[in-house]
């Protein structure tokens, strides 16, 4: 396992793609959050809603490069045929997928932390004093929102890795993951029955997972912050299990 992890980490750091994608996550997250903060309607008492959620809204966009990175970690090897070199060097396939997952987790944890802290800093700079107070990391719910958003990005990366291991193609993998993330919330807006809409928002990986960003009015959420992130984790675990099982049983 140690050697497989060393190999996968060497792969990750010796091409330019992962670094650029993570920089993309930082840029997209910080800039969208800054724009959202500058449009907020703030008064002396507050910014008319959930300030932490507002400042972290950038991950809606910032998660896309993470998803692409997760897909490319294994999908790129299927595209070139290098997966056979990988599996000839490391015949234990579960170990290979685990090593890829760990290397991905480490990379996204670093990139995601920079992105999320950058978004908070942007919020503090752009929002007036009222927002400044709400965005303190010493505030329990805000810290949970920040930490939970980094975890959310890691889970999206892992979900993408699992999907790509199953579909064995980068373009298909990216399509499936982005569809899963962005199409479900759009579809849920067209559902008129509130019960069904709530259920869909509880089940979808993005709408449930981003409940972890909420710091006010928790009672009105379709699902609690940690429970919501748990749903996203369930998605990641399920796709990794399916992808891992298919990787073990199929010809390479």
């Amino acid at each position: 396992m140690k050697r497989a992890l060393h190999a996968e980490w060497t792969k990750m750091r010796t091409v330019a793609g992962p670094l650029w994608l993570l920089l993309g996550t930082v840029a997209a997250t910080v800039s969208l959050s800054a724009v959202a903060a500058s449009l907020a309607n703030c008064t002396a008492t507050g910014c008319g809603g959930d300030t932490a959620k507002l400042a972290l809204v950038g991950v809606y966009l910032g998660q896309a490069p993470v998803a692409i990175l997760g897909v490319l970690v294994i999908g790129g090897e299927y595209g070139s045929g290098m997966i056979r070199t990988t599996l000839a060097a490391m015949p234990r396939r579960t170990t290979v997928l685990t090593a890829k997952a760990v290397a991905l987790t480490g990379s996204v944890a670093v990139g995601g932390t920079v992105a999320v802290l950058g978004a908070v800093l942007a919020g503090r700079l752009v929002l007036p004093d009222a927002g400044d107070r709400a965005l303190s990391l010493s505030d329990g719910p805000t810290l949970r929102a920040v930490f939970g958003t980094v975890l959310y990005l890691i889970l999206i990366g892992l979900l993408s890795l699992g999907v790509a291991a199953a579909v064995r193609d980068s373009a298909t993998g990216i399509g499936v993951v982005l569809g899963l993330l962005y199409v479900v919330p759009i579809v849920s807006q067209t559902i008129s029955d509130p019960g069904w809409r709530r259920l869909l928002e509880k089940m979808a990986p993005m709408t449930s997972g981003l409940a972890v960003q909420a710091t006010t009015d928790l009672g009105s959420l379709p699902i609690g912050p940690w429970a919501g992130l748990g749903v996203t984790a369930g998605w990641a675990i399920a796709t990794l299990l399916v992808g891992g099982l298919l990787l073990r049983t199929r010809d390479a």
Partner: protein
């Protein structure tokens, strides 16, 4: 050149050294890809795996590497299945597809991750880069490599673990003449160091000067498994070619003496079942002029065509005659 004693580590392990493939059977849907493929690859010998495209060469190699599963049969490396090897690149070095690289990663970094997967370090990477003559290009992105450079990089990867077994799928494909000469010498030197070398090709001419032993495959099984000299002798038969301007006269003399004779060209006849010296003596005694009496020697190309005639699955409809 390698200064270390090669391959000793796994030759010492229990079980037969080299590769033993026994009774592989594999079905893709309705197509039978492997139909009882069996052969052995021995140390110190270059074994050529030859056969038409689609005969099962690449599938067999993927099975040996544990990449593809089979319905029946076993492929063992020094007595063990590949998937049970702890550091497989120290047992078998292989090159299946030289293009299977990340275009944005340098050749050196490609070897580096492979080395790390086996617990080897960057020093070993530098050694194999030098060994295959890739030093000037090693730090450039592999996407810009020519096919010949990719083949060299693939060979370097196969040598990384200093394995007693080397397996290459179509290593001559796309190589320029210089590269082919280099590859031949290289394969010979690997075998001379005591390694088992398995090389596949769909062109007999590519392996005839390199291989000592041939496994000819067709329709998913080995249809011949013998030394190069034995194979040629088997197909040549005991025919003798006589070149003479007096063909009719020569045939009359030979038939009267009891030989089986056929006119095979404007000035050549073929005699079966008689040694060349007896024919020459008989013709001289009867004053038949001739310019040549020689034992027919088949080329490996003939052997290949003879053996695979039945096994070629897709032959163009217009291609009815094979010129010799």
């Amino acid at each position: 050149m390698l200064r270390r004693t090669v391959g000793m580590s796994s030759l010492r392990t229990a079980g037969a050294p080299g590769i033993v493939v026994a009774g592989l059977r594999k079905r893709y849907g309705t197509a039978l890809a492997l139909d009882g493929m069996s052969f052995t690859v021995r140390p110190g010998v270059v074994t050529g795996l030859v056969g038409p495209n689609g005969a099962g060469k690449s599938t067999t190699m993927r099975v040996i590497l544990g990449l593809d599963a089979v319905d029946e049969g076993t492929a063992l490396i020094g007595g063990k299945p590949y998937r049970g090897l702890r550091h497989p690149l120290k047992h078998v070095g292989s090159l299946l597809d030289a293009a299977a690289l990340h275009a944005g990663r340098s050749g050196r970094d490609h070897l580096l991750w492979l080395a790390h997967s086996q617990g080897l370090d960057a020093r070993r990477v530098e050694q194999v880069i030098e060994q295959v003559g890739l030093t000037p290009a090693a730090r450039r992105k592999a996407g810009g490599y020519s096919l010949g450079m990719r083949q060299r990089l693939g060979i370097a990867a196969a040598l990384l673990g200093d394995p007693p077994i080397i397996m290459l799928d179509e290593p001559f494909n796309g190589m320029d003449p210089d590269g082919i000469v280099w590859m031949r010498g290289f394969l010979r030197s690997l075998a001379a160091q005591g390694r088992a070398v398995l090389v596949s090709s769909h062109l007999m001419s590519e392996v005839q000067d390199t291989a000592d032993h041939l496994v000819v495959v067709g329709r998913g099984k080995a249809i011949a498994d013998a030394g190069v000299a034995d194979l040629i002798a088997a197909v040549s038969g005991d025919r003798v070619t006589v070149r003479t301007a007096a063909g009719a006269h020569a045939m009359r003399v030979l038939v009267r003496a009891g030989a089986t004779v056929a006119a095979t060209g404007r000035d050549t006849i073929t005699v079966s079942g008689w040694p060349a010296d007896r024919i020459a003596t008989l013709l001289s005694q009867n004053a038949v002029p001739f310019s040549e009496v020689s034992a027919h020697r088949a080329s490996l190309e003939d052997v290949y065509l003879e053996l695979t005639r039945e096994a070629v699955e897709f032959r163009a409809a217009t291609h009815t005659e094979v010129s010799r």
